[in-house]
């Protein structure tokens, strides 16, 4: 099946991967021998940095493609997205696994990460909520992904048994995703005094959940775009035929979801009559985020899907993904501790950035391994049954 075994291992992609992995390993050793203070720019006023903002918040938001795609196909009956489900589930599974992986770097005692689940659950905490749902959801995603692996391994019976659970897993996945996407936003409901009023709202849970929908849909388009050329040879006719339909359909859905998110953003500002903040420098930044990265992509998606302009949609997907990352960063770093003087604000250290890149690299590498071997972009000939 895979052609990589025949070629040399030192492709440009592999070399870059190797460099990032090596740097990451070095920093890993430093982290666990010298401590967080040595490796990060975190301090007592800024306990959460990009490992939370990017690896956790963005990672979870952008892995939302899993539940959006599978619910579109299996619950809302849109069969034309079927070929997009497996790649989306794979991305989501890898995404969430990486979140858990990256968390091992950020918490002070990673060997106790099971404590909140099995030793002393802190049920008053929204972080417990996040942890429990992420734990369950990674399990669900693993199970949802496993048929691809079993097909590759030829374990027919097991594969068929799990396949029967698809509907239940999808429903459970949507429930868990709703809960943890919103709980990540709800984490910040506890700190109104530290987040700028334009980004703080008692509705943060709703904001994060609603924005995760276009995030997931855009991520499917975006990473479908990235994967299309290098993995073209792995894609079967159905996948290639349905590709454009997925892009157009998701563009329409994302446009509506972004429009809804825009309205929720306005409600969040109107809630405490915070309009006067829009006339400040912070307001200008907020307008940039909302007009340039929420309203604009909503419009562009609508235009693109109506005129069937695939190129425009692909660029808009990238714009949306960037916008979601911007929003998560704004809530957790930029607008967080906004009242502190500049000397006490946080900026990531190069080692923190290095680990984040390392985590993404690990994910991409595992993705490349799986996609080049397992039936993700194609249907295994022995299992071409109707769903």
């Amino acid at each position: 099946m895979s052609t990589e075994n025949n070629k040399t291992l030192f492709t440009p992609a592999n070399i870059i991967t190797g460099i990032f992995l090596a740097i990451g390993l070095v920093i890993t050793v430093l982290r666990f021998t010298k401590g967080l203070g040595y490796v990060t720019n975190l301090d007592d006023n800024n306990p959460w940095g990009i490992w939370i903002s990017f690896d956790l918040l963005c990672g979870v938001a952008l892995a939302a493609g899993g539940y959006t795609t599978s619910s579109a196909c299996y619950l809302f009956g849109m069969k034309k997205y079927h070929s997009a489900v497996r790649p989306a589930i794979l991305t989501a599974f890898l995404g969430y696994s990486l979140v858990v992986f990256a968390l091992h770097y950020d918490v002070g005692r990673p060997y106790r990460l099971v404590y909140p689940l099995f030793v002393s659950p802190g049920t008053t905490s929204l972080l417990f909520e996040v942890g429990l749902c992420v734990f369950l959801y990674v399990t669900v995603l693993a199970i949802e992904f496993s048929p691809a692996m079993f097909e590759w391994l030829g374990m027919k019976n097991l594969r068929n048994k799990i396949h029967k659970l698809t509907l239940a897993l999808t429903v459970f996945g949507v429930v868990l995703s709703t809960l943890h996407q919103s709980s990540l936003g709800a984490l910040y409901i506890a700190v109104p005094s530290k987040i700028h009023p334009l980004w703080y709202s008692p509705y943060l849970a709703v904001l994060f959940f609603v924005s995760s929908i276009p995030a997931g849909l855009s991520m499917v388009i975006f990473e479908g775009t990235l994967a299309h050329k290098p993995w073209h040879h792995m894609m079967d006719k159905t996948h290639l035929d349905e590709h454009e339909g997925v892009i157009l359909g998701f563009a329409r859905g994302a446009s509506i979801a972004l429009a809804a998110y825009f309205c929720v953003k306005l409600v969040a500002v109107a809630y405490d009559n915070n309009w006067h903040y829009l006339a400040t420098g912070w307001g200008a930044w907020w307008l940039l985020e909302v007009l340039g990265f929420v309203a604009l992509p909503s419009l562009l998606y609508a235009i693109g899907s109506r005129e069937k302009n695939i190129k425009l949609i692909k660029w808009t997907a990238a714009l949306t993904v960037f916008g979601i990352i911007l929003n998560r960063f704004n809530v957790s770093i930029v607008a967080f501790n906004w009242q502190l003087p500049a000397s006490q604000r946080y900026f990531p250290s190069w080692m923190e950035i290095g680990i984040s890149i390392f985590v993404v690299t690990v994910g991409v590498t595992v993705y490349r391994f799986i996609v080049s071997r397992m039936p993700i972009f194609f249907e295994h000939p022995e299992y071409k049954d109707a769903h």
Binding site: G283, A284, G304, L312
Partner: protein
């Protein structure tokens, strides 16, 4: 989508980005402009148009001294901008009174801009010209006011009454020569019918008795009256060539530096005048009198405290202006503040007028402000805040003593009916029995050093120089006659530190008799012994502004214990 559409959208996005970046930059710059505002004492807000209706443009912030200083270089005078009427400069700009809106507007524009234009023509640096409306009508002028209120205190009044430059204009009836006292130069009464002012001997009150902060139908505002009278007079003298005359510039009365200079000159003059000089010439005020209630209603039995022997001359010396006590008119308090209160006195009863501790013009209130000085604040800061004086203290003022006054048997002597001389005599009699020098116990009875060793732990025992402290406190009390009266009982000074004990006891109880364990829930307000010591000493030191020992200098009071 056609290429054109994409381009349009991208252009739109770039535009939004550009606008937003500018806004962000703009917003960062805010806050610096405020810091550089100039501070001036001569700001005049020209808002005459307000009287005619809603203003079209913001009022003009006019800097008066800036203009008069500019005129000085050209050897010009007030008459450049103001008209003179009956020898008096009218403070309105280039007119005697306001006519119609259009005419007043023209007066301002023609003359202000006209003058600027002339100066610009001569090549001089000048103000805004025609067309630069907002340069004058600036809603947010970059100046802020540091104008202090001007005023005439007793010392400055003395300089006015003692100078040769201000002779009286009236002739003495007896001698036919000019009066020695020049009260008539400033003091006047007002005849509502003839609308003229005239001098009334014996009725020289304070300016503000009639001239209030805002103009009324019958009198100009204080500000207007002061500028009309004072500044004009200063100007007239200056024109005559008098060297030492009062200020005509805004800053001359209203700036901090000028006021400091004036205060210094006042002090000099007062010192030169000597110990016995009266700053306010005698014009009806008593030197020594009885303060008592006014005549009660016909047939009513009078119920009141025994009268207070009041040394008016001494009090005159110790206040800045008459208005410190005579806050409305220079008459006896009881004229407005009757026993039961009347409308004239704002329904403030006599008792409150005399005793309200929070009012500076009451007796008790004024005395209270004196104890806030660092010299006194050490002990008085430690004392409990009281709303009224303690009843044992009443007789310090309401001296009860024998009075040789004809009185009907069984009735209180009718103080209100006494003539001033009789009152003075009675007061003198009363005061004789009252001690007015601060007193303490014999030096031998005051322990020289007190060793505080009950809590020795990290530090050695504290050797307190007790006698030195007490004698220093006595020295602080020495100068003031008032403090002499209040501290005339020997044990009084001790009471600040040795509180809650028996007054006058030579051997006060130990602190540890009452202060023991801290945080006793049965005694919520009472500090433990360590805090009692530290709070007592440190509060006094802080209130008296002592630099040594500093409260944080532990070893300054007790040596460190060697381990």
């Amino acid at each position: 989508m056609e290429k054109g559409r994409v381009l349009l959208l991208s252009a739109g996005a770039m535009f939004v980005l550009a606008v937003v970046s500018i806004l962000i930059l703009e917003a960062q710059g805010v806050g610096e402009a405020q810091a550089n505002a100039a501070v001036r004492t001569d700001m005049v807000t020209i808002d005459t148009m307000k009287a005619y209706g809603k203003l079209e443009l913001p009022p003009v912030t006019f800097l008066h001294d800036k203009h008069t200083m500019a005129l000085k270089t050209g050897e010009k005078d007030c008459k450049t901008c103001h008209v003179e009427k009956d020898g008096v400069i009218v403070t309105k700009f280039k007119r005697e009174k306001d006519t119609t809106q259009a005419e007043v507007k023209v007066v301002y524009h023609k003359n202000c801009i006209g003058c600027h234009t002339d100066m610009a023509g001569k090549g001089q640096k000048t103000g805004p010209l025609d067309g630069a409306c907002r340069s004058c009508h600036d809603a947010k002028p970059k100046v802020s006011s540091a104008k202090l209120d001007g005023g005439l205190n007793n010392a400055l009044h003395y300089r006015h009454t003692s100078t040769k430059e201000l002779p009286s204009t009236l002739k003495d009836e007896a001698t036919g020569e000019l009066r020695k006292q020049n009260c008539d130069r400033c003091h006047h009464e007002y005849n509502k019918d003839t609308k003229k002012t005239f001098y009334a001997k014996g009725k020289e009150g304070t300016c503000r008795s009639c001239h209030e902060a805002k103009a009324t139908k019958e009198s100009r505002s204080m500000s207007q009256a002061a500028h009309d009278s004072c500044v004009n007079c200063h100007r007239t003298l200056a024109l005559k060539g008098v060297k030492e005359t009062g200020p005509t510039q805004c800053a001359g009365c209203h700036s901090k530096e000028a006021q400091a200079k004036t205060a210094a000159k006042n002090k000099e003059a007062v010192a030169k005048a000597g110990e016995g000089a009266r700053l306010i010439l005698k014009a009806g005020q008593p030197d020594l009198t009885l303060v008592s209630i006014e005549k009660p209603a016909e047939g009513a039995k009078p119920m009141a405290m025994s009268p207070v022997a009041f040394n008016h001359k001494l009090h005159e010396k110790n206040v800045d202006t008459c208005r410190a006590c005579h806050h409305k008119e220079t008459v006896a308090c009881g004229k407005c503040h009757t026993v039961q209160g009347v409308k004239e006195g704002g329904f403030v009863q006599l008792e409150q007028a005399m005793h309200r501790a929070s009012a500076k013009q009451s007796c008790v209130g004024c005395h209270k402000t004196k104890v806030a000085e660092p010299k006194c604040a050490g002990c008085h800061g430690l004392m409990k805040e009281r709303k009224q004086p303690a009843s044992a203290e009443c007789k310090k003022c309401h001296i009860q003593g024998a009075l040789k006054v004809p009185a009907e048997p069984g009735q209180m002597p009718a103080y209100w009916a006494m003539k001033p001389e009789e009152k003075a005599a009675a007061a003198a009699e009363l005061v004789k029995g009252r001690g007015d020098k601060a007193d303490i116990f014999n030096t031998d009875d005051i322990p020289e050093k007190v060793t505080i060793k009950s809590l020795v732990n990290e530090y050695e025992a504290s050797e307190m120089p007790h006698r030195k402290i007490v004698l220093k406190l006595m020295e602080n009390v020495k100068d003031s006659k008032m403090s002499g009266v209040f501290h005339s009982d020997p044990g009084t000074v001790c009471q600040a530190c040795h509180h809650n004990g028996v007054a006058g006891a030579k051997k006060p109880p130990k602190c540890s008799n009452c202060h023991g364990k801290p945080f006793d829930s049965k005694q919520p307000g009472r500090p433990g012994l360590k805090a009692a010591y530290h709070a007592q000493c440190m509060s006094c030191h802080k209130a008296m502004d002592l630099k040594k020992p500093l409260n944080t200098d532990c070893v300054g009071c007790h040596k460190e214990k060697k381990k």
